[in-house]
Symmetry: C2
Subunit: 340 residues, 2 copies
DNA sequence: TTGTAGGCGTTATCAA
DNA sequence: TTGATAACGCCTACAA
């Protein structure tokens, strides 16, 4: 076992001063060619690499960015991480991943943990509980301490910072418009309760599309799921004997539960009822029938978020005062759960 | 904007020395009650928190563990991360996530990046390319530098360290035994090429189960996939007009492709052919028919790995010399792709 | 061309 | 009871 070597040790071995070594390794012209040679050779031999921690302390920046998400076992968030990681690595940053488990307390804890010097900035999607409570003091504090923050997907108006969102309203509109275009007359919506911002926005898109086409909005065709765990049963109950020919669901899971329920009712997808989901995951692709969905481009969102954060990190505070919101457009991926 | 406050600043404000502040905040009995009170109140007001980086430098440990995986957009790895994260957080550690993208170079790069002080130890699953090359110098180096390493899932014999694996042979055996128990006579295997250790082991389990039941191994019923991208077409070709009544596939994707191929051949799952997969992901659960699978307990593996690593980290080098391999048992989850 | 000294934020040891 | 000092590993302005 050969522990990491330090400048100090090299200096002692070679009988020169620490700063000479430091300079030599950074190829400073101040140092004589032969000394440089000697030092470099020695350092290479012992595989010297500067200690990141020491550098962090000195430079007051860690070159790592923290990402806090509600859950990782969720294809969308996974793709976002992958996007963040890609850009971060290209730009010489590391990625610290924390999970809030959708709990407010864990979110706050994680943030405090990372804010004490572990991270230069944050990329986050808020926990459901946080949005319910409406308590954002931890975000405010991080910003006050001068730590840039980029919010994505589950964002809020109350905090002024960079944001990356998808065009939920438009995505939903596109989906419903597509259902209308293929001839659907009675389109149900399966959404989440309104404090989840995406649920609210997608509901808005649904209603807008209907109105644009002079359909009227029938509230009895709208289901708002409160408890994820019971969504399957709820959807089954909701769809039981309902006279519909189209369903727009705000995520994959709801869409699939809907398909199951429809099939159990003795109807066929897509012949009798067309179904569109939101979020284009593995599930949508491989389910039978494969799902027509609004795709969210998680990787793209992650990349954008990372780029924005790092830009803030590397710019002077003067230019920091302008915050952008990047809207990542959605795409409609047509598969076999909708008539063509 | 109110940047983070330091001991030094508190000391200056309160006109005491830095060490007095430090001691007071750690509630040292050396300091007088009233001074303590005053300092604590002040610190609380300004929300003082010790700087992690400075602590890391001083203590020569970062309290973060690095996890390097081939890809994150893969349910199994995601669950592992989730397990690592859980245990790590409970024990006061952070988790640094890096992706190798199955590339040897990226794996080496990531490791070097993290080894320079960013991490106290590693939890890894090797990139496919690394296993092909058989070049493990980066692992050896990390270990030589005194950084504990825990390998999981894609592990190798060449490196001596803690490992967490699942009982692939047994898992496969269980699956095939189950097929036999429900009456299958001609069971096909869809596996990967042999340098992927799991492919090899699961193939072994398949053969063992057959032999245990006095079936003979028919090599024409075994398919070894080389290229993930073409797996679907390959499986279709392989299964075309094959006379079988059972399929054991070494992962979800292969299993689903098999089901599709079987159905396209005009046969029914599970009535004509029973199918079992490996890795219990979202896909298996929600596919129709839902998949009977060997479940891998990724979360469990992550938890075990984290526990082992942290134990190494917090123990004296003396006890470090013993390495364990934890074998996480698999379970068979029976669903609708097999006859009952 | 090389070396000295100070500082990044903390803690621990020892002196006052 | 409090404070000065050194050290963790690195860099850099300045001195020699």
């Amino acid at each position: 076992m050969r522990p990491k070597i330090t400048l100090k040790q090299i200096a002692k071995e070679l009988d020169v001063s620490i700063s000479t070594v430091s300079k030599a390794l950074r190829d400073s012209p101040e140092i004589g060619e032969d000394t440089k040679e000697k030092i470099k050779a020695f350092a290479k031999f012992y595989n010297y690499k500067p200690n990141n921690i020491a550098l962090s302390l000195k430079n007051r920046k860690t070159k790592t960015i923290g990402i806090i998400i509600p859950e990782i076992v969720h294809h969308f968030f996974t793709t976002v991480i992958s996007g963040v990681e890609k850009v971060a690595n290209e730009l010489g940053y590391n990625v610290l991943v924390c999970l809030s488990d959708n709990s407010f307390d864990k979110e706050v804890l994680n943030m405090e943990m990372l804010a004490n010097g572990s991270t230069d900035g944050f990329i986050m999607s808020l926990a459901k509980e946080t949005m319910q409570k409406g308590d954002y003091h931890h975000l405010v504090e991080a910003i006050n301490q001068g730590m840039p923050l980029v919010l994505f997907d589950r964002v809020i108006d109350e905090i002024t910072c960079d944001k990356v969102i998808i065009d939920d309203v438009n995505g939903a509109k596109k989906a419903v418009q597509h259902l209308i275009d293929i001839g659907c007359k009675k389109i149900a919506l399966i959404s989440t309760v309104d404090y989840v911002s995406v649920g609210k926005l997608r509901t808005k898109g649904y209603k807008t599309a209907l109105k644009d086409n002079f359909f009227n909005v029938d509230e009895s065709l709208i289901l708002k799921i409160e408890e994820m765990d019971e969504s399957e049963a709820e959807i089954e109950r909701f769809l039981k004997d309902k006279d519909i020919d189209g369903v727009f669901a705000v995520n994959e899971h709801f869409a699939i539960s809907a398909i199951k329920a429809i099939q159990e009712n003795g109807k066929k997808v897509p012949d009798d009822v067309s179904v569109i989901g939101f979020t284009d995951g593995e599930l949508s692709k491989r389910f039978i029938p494969s799902l027509t969905t609004v795709s969210q481009h998680g990787t793209r969102m992650g990349e954008e978020a990372a780029r924005m954060l790092i830009e803030k990190l590397e710019n002077t505070p003067a230019e920091d005062e302008k915050y952008k919101t990047i809207i990542v457009e959605t795409g409609l991926v047509t598969r076999n759960s909708t008539k063509s």
